[in-house]
């Protein structure tokens, strides 16, 4: 691309990943809007683009854009951390195109073929029908190859260059991240066994390996954006890894309450998942503490200027610290105990938690990384907010929080009416859905979804234009 200040091939590759991620992020929001409209107007696109299709695309696009942005983040930080150009960056570029092309094919098949006959060809070529990892088997194999190539690049670069604490954590984390996917690549007639292993992928990704990834990225951001001391940041990172894996791995038990698995998972799941918010508190304190400390050091020298070298990105990193704790921590803890989960499992409560957690824990920090990419590409020393930055940030955050509150209220009705009163039957389900608070909750969710999408448009505009603004320090 023209006018790029980037000299590192790895960083150029990172910007490709960020760009594709942003496009898929937009697709995620669009299909989310379709699904949200269908809750309010059930006939919308009926038997054309049904809820199941819209929802599949909504959650798959979510996973895919995040994985792309995660790969991009690693390619971005590797040269800074290791001091060398990423080894195998040519392979990385090839894999990028393979990955992107595969995603486009999978999406087109979801959109236009949608479902298949009940045989193996559907599983291999159309879809596997397992939430979040619906991608057909051929794509699974492709994903494994791409992930292995990515992990190989990370390892070769980490071994040849300076292996910092952050790189060490990422190496261990990313190999687990890639390896866990294999637990989701098989078919069984036994739905209990199916869901047992399915959760290995989903839970051990989002409540273990992805969280550790976020810890590493936050550590990198603190060092690069406010000049936090590496030794302190890396010590915190190791403490976070200890707490995240210490609670998150066995916290897997909170998905094993009701799928046929033995009762002892009640106790194991309750105990360890109740501990899961603790590292998120630690991460929150860590970010704010380091910020205060670095700014304090400046103030002591009589400097009035902010220590932050990238205002938009740092805003998103702080939002990550807060959103991770609130969305994953608080909203997760709400319904993690089996006594509560018996009634909330599979209701809009889960959906409320899902929205705020994926946004708070992952979307925020990955958007932050995109801004870091824009800063680097435009050779900016200190990047300031623009009006669009502020509109984008407030509308996206406001929209997602609004959706979460609306879904929580809807979930509350569902728990009381469908579950507690009516015992989860067909009739009970629809009694809950027709409750006034439920219906209004769905209206508000749609309205807030639109706000989020408008915020996303501002975000795109800002990412494309902020580099050209003149009020930055170059």
């Amino acid at each position: 691309m023209a006018n790029s200040y980037l000299t590192s091939e790895s960083k150029k590759l990172a910007t490709w990943y960020f760009t594709f991620a942003a496009i898929i992020f937009g697709a995620q929001l669009l299909f989310g809007l379709v699904a949200a409209v269908q809750y309010v107007v059930p006939g919308f696109l009926f038997e054309i683009l049904d809820f199941s299709v819209a929802r599949t695309l909504h959650i798959n696009a979510l996973v895919v854009w995040m994985v792309f942005a995660m790969f991009g983040s690693v390619y971005w930080l590797l040269p800074d951390e290791t001091g060398i150009e990423t080894v195998g960056v040519g392979l990385g570029k090839l894999l990028f195109w393979i990955f992107a092309a595969a995603i486009v094919v999978v999406v087109l098949v979801y959109l236009f073929i949608q479902v298949g006959p009940a045989d193996e060809t559907t599983i291999w070529f159309i879809m596997e029908g397992r939430e979040y990892i619906e991608a057909p088997r051929w794509a699974d194999i492709g994903i494994v190859v791409v992930a292995l190539g990515f992990v190989a690049n990370l390892f070769m670069t980490g071994i040849q260059g300076n292996r910092s604490g952050i790189v060490t954590v990422l190496m261990a984390d990313m190999i687990a991240f890639a390896g866990l996917y294999l637990a989701g690549v098989f078919f069984t007639d036994n739905i209990s066994i199916d869901q047992f292993w399915w959760w290995w992928v989903i839970h051990l990704w989002v409540e273990a390996t992805w969280e550790v990834f976020v810890g590493s990225i936050a550590a990198y951001g603190l060092i690069t954006m406010i000049g936090a001391h590496r030794k302190v940041v890396e010590m915190w990172l190791w403490i976070e890894v200890t707490m995240l894996f210490g609670s998150g791995i066995l916290g897997l038990g909170h998905h094993y309450f009701w799928i046929g698995t033995p009762e002892y998972w009640w106790e194991i799941g309750a105990l360890f998942s109740a501990l899961e918010p603790l590292p998120l508190v630690a991460m929150f304190i860590h970010v704010l503490y380091d910020w205060g400390r670095m700014q304090g050091e400046e103030s002591a020298k009589g400097q009035e200027e902010s220590v932050i070298t990238n205002k938009p990105a740092f805003t998103w990193f702080v939002l990550n610290a807060f959103g991770n704790f609130l969305g994953a921590g608080i909203w997760g803890f709400f319904h993690t105990l089996p006594q509560v989960n018996l009634y909330t499992h599979g209701t809009q409560f889960t959906s409320a938690h899902g929205h705020l957690a994926f946004f708070g824990a992952y979307a925020t920090i990955l958007i932050g990384m995109m801004y870091i990419g824009v800063q680097g590409k435009n050779g900016i020393k200190v990047m300031n907010n623009t009006t669009s930055t502020i509109w984008a940030t407030s509308m996206i955050v406001g929209g997602v929080v609004g959706m979460t509150v609306a879904l929580t209220v809807a979930g509350y009705v569902q728990v009381l009416v469908s579950r507690a009163q009516m015992g989860a039957t067909w009739a009970g389900y629809f009694d809950g859905q027709s409750g006034m608070w439920f219906a209004q909750g769905m209206d508000w969710r749609l309205a807030m979804g639109v706000v989020t999408f408008l915020g996303f448009l501002f975000l795109v505009k800002d990412l494309l234009s902020i580099g050209k603004a003149t009020h930055h320090k170059r």
Binding site: R55, A118, T122, R130, W238, I239, G260, H345
Partner: protein, 217 residues
């Protein structure tokens, strides 16, 4: 001067991270070795001799299933009772029942059920939970859904609905036509019946027990 504390030493925390992660992983693997045999499907011999399995064998479709309060465990569990005809037969062999269940499970994935419904409580929240749908009052002899299809048995009614879901005015939010064939529908109903026999530790609570509790309906 006091010695530098171990608590501020990066190596100490790095080792802690490694040990705790390793320990948690080993514990998880150990528990997995305990859990998997417990949720492995039983077989026909278990059913005939009354051995309770958390996930019974496919021939459970030959039996009547109910969901009853277990005083000792303090919640409801599926109870496998006397023989019951399923599509006119109560002598489905182990191979036949397994083939039907296989078709149904494949169908549940090929038709993407999980992105509207929840199964064992997992999936999307746009349509009712299917965990115990086989036991739903709406599909029983006097239930609204069975009456609507004009069929005389639960399994036939469910199979008919699955083949032509958008023909039946169930609710403003209807199920779309997914091109489910007669044979696939049979498999799906077998899959649903089998799923209702899984011991889910009392989820969902009070299923089908409270009728008419809301608004005097």
């Amino acid at each position: 001067m006091a010695k530098k504390s171990v608590w501020s030493d990066n190596r100490f925390w790095q080792r802690s991270a490694a040990w705790i992660t390793g320990f948690a992983s080993i514990l998880l693997i150990w528990l997995t070795f305990d859990t998997i045999p417990q949720i492995t499907m039983g077989n026909d011999a278990d059913l005939q001799s009354g051995v309770t399995k958390r996930v019974p064998g496919p021939t459970v479709i030959n039996y009547k299933i109910t969901y009853e309060m277990d005083k000792k465990r303090g919640h409801e569990i599926p109870v496998i009772g006397e023989k019951e005809k399923f599509f006119g037969r109560d002598d489905w062999s182990e191979e036949e029942a397994a083939a039907l269940l296989h078709l149904g499970k494949l169908g549940s994935q090929a038709k993407n059920c999980m992105n509207c419904h929840t199964l064992l409580g997992n999936g999307a929240y746009y349509a009712p939970d299917l965990t115990k749908s086989w036991l739903d009052p709406a599909w029983q002899a006097n239930g609204s859904m069975q009456a609507m299809t004009g069929k005389s048995t639960k399994e036939e009614a469910m199979a008919e609905f699955l083949q032509h879901p958008s023909q039946y005015p169930t609710h403003a939010r209807m199920m779309p036509n997914l091109g489910i064939t007669a044979e696939e529908a049979k498999g799906l109903v077998a899959f649903l019946k089998h799923m209702s026999s899984i011991d889910t530790n009392g989820f969902p609570r009070n299923f089908g027990k409270i009728q008419g509790a809301v608004n005097g309906k």
